[in-house]
Symmetry: C2
Subunit: 250 residues, 2 copies
DNA sequence: GCGATCAGCGTACATGCTACGCAGATCAGG
DNA sequence: CCTGATCTGCGTAGCATGTACGCTGATCGC
């Protein structure tokens, strides 16, 4: 069992030094390194993508690379810092983009869809607690773009930060809802259908008491919402609401 | 180190049986039990409230109760089920309430503020992954109330579920932002100020490159947002956006 | 060729959950 | 009151995890 995974719980200085490539003195003495930070980080991401965060252990990454566990510690201070590095790595932009869009609405929509792609490609990502983010070059670049997109809206600095946080939080939540069944089945071997079937008898008994009329009247498919529809519904809602806020300052 | 805490990862049948008090045969043979499920659950909640989820271990709960660790397993199948029980327990309504409000807007606002109170009183709660909720009596009652509040809005069943999920997700995210500094400091001993101060030199160096003009122009206080303001801002935004959706169906 | 340097990593320990099985308390039936 | 079935409390041990420590041996500057 591993800790709840959080960014910024390790040695922030060390994480930053590696991220921003303050290349340590390029020593030449001793044997040549077989590994590299980059290789380790990419392997860790591959493991998490394939088998989830709970399968991500130092032993596993090392064995994946065919080296001893402790060898990793020559490159990375510890697991906490490795996670910081993974987070900035996945934020690497696929291509050079200098703007998210011309007006704030399309820009925010682009940002949300980009995050959606990120969070569904790396299904573990929405479960990493980023409330103390370690700002690597990629994270900073993304944030810079988002800030710029909200420049002409009349929002205060605090509000711009809040808007970005909330949209990110929404996408993260939506991605969690979508990814959860897949990950939970991989972890526990129990499909979503089986999980709900296990609860069905109790729920039906509860409904027969008449205490839950609304739930009783719910259609069968109320909880079987296609992920994309849920995301689109929320996104429209959010952007419409933001529109109201922008008008209020205009 | 303990797993990322999730609901619904244990034996769902057992959790449900205890929650809905399918009282096992009231045997009378053998020694009288010293503990009760209720006592254990409340102790666990007290531990999590006081020292966070990562301090919540079977050993700790047992020692808090002055019994051996394995004694807990006579009452609770395991840690996973204990968590399920904690979740339904904290949802216990303080008073008998039969409605959240007269119109959908005040009802949703009431719901959001209630969740806000819940998530800030039990600071660990927003970090529990509830994507597979085990529906106890209290959780079902809360959900029933929320569904009823959205009855006259023209939303489909799927949309009503989505609306409730999204508002909950928002409040959870906001609560995480607010609780994080407190919990992180307790866990790591590093204050938020110290954390950001550690990053400052690197960030300033990055800004001096001129690559991040928007971030450079940000006021000092852009990240130092009072929690309540953030919550209120988001809530207004969300409700205004929901208003647009409701009008579209009216 | 020598010696400083450094990569690789085996071992050991702390902390976590919990399966197993025993000791002893308790009470129904006689 | 005695006997035996029953059930509570829990000690022990086995699994997993991250990682501190310190050794071995490869490598390269001089």
């Amino acid at each position: 069992m591993s800790d709840q995974q959080r960014s910024g719980e390790g040695d922030v200085h060390r994480s930053l030094a590696i991220m921003w490539a303050f290349a340590g003195g390029t020593a030449t003495r001793g044997p040549k390194p077989q590994l590299s930070v980059r290789l380790i980080v990419d392997t860790a991401i591959r493991v998490a993508d394939a088998d989830g965060l709970e399968a991500l252990s130092m032993r596993r990454v090392a064995s994946e690379l065919g080296v001893g566990t402790m060898s990793l510690y020559r490159y990375v201070p510890g697991k906490a810092e490795l996670l910081d590095l993974m987070l900035d790595r996945v934020n690497e932009p696929p291509e050079d983009c200098t703007s998210l869009g011309d007006d704030w609405r399309t820009a925010m929509e682009t940002m949300a869809r980009g995050l959606w792609t990120l969070y569904t490609e790396h299904k573990w990502l929405p479960w990493v607690d980023q409330s103390r983010p370690v700002l690597g070059p990629n994270a900073m670049a993304s944030f810079e773009l988002a800030l710029a997109a909200l420049a002409g809206t009349g929002f205060s600095d605090q509000e711009r930060v809040a808007v970005i946080s909330l949209i990110d939080s929404f996408v993260q939540g939506a991605a969690r809802m979508v990814n959860a069944p897949v990950l939970a089945e991989r972890r526990t071997g129990v499909t979503d259908q089986e999980f709900w079937a296990a609860q069905a008898p109790v729920m039906e008994a509860a409904m027969r008491t008449g205490a839950f009329p609304e739930m009783q009247g719910l259609s069968e498919t109320a909880f079987a919402q296609p992920p994309e529809e849920f995301f689109e519904f929320g996104l429209t809602w959010l952007l419409d609401g933001l529109d109201v806020q922008v008008r209020n300052r205009g």
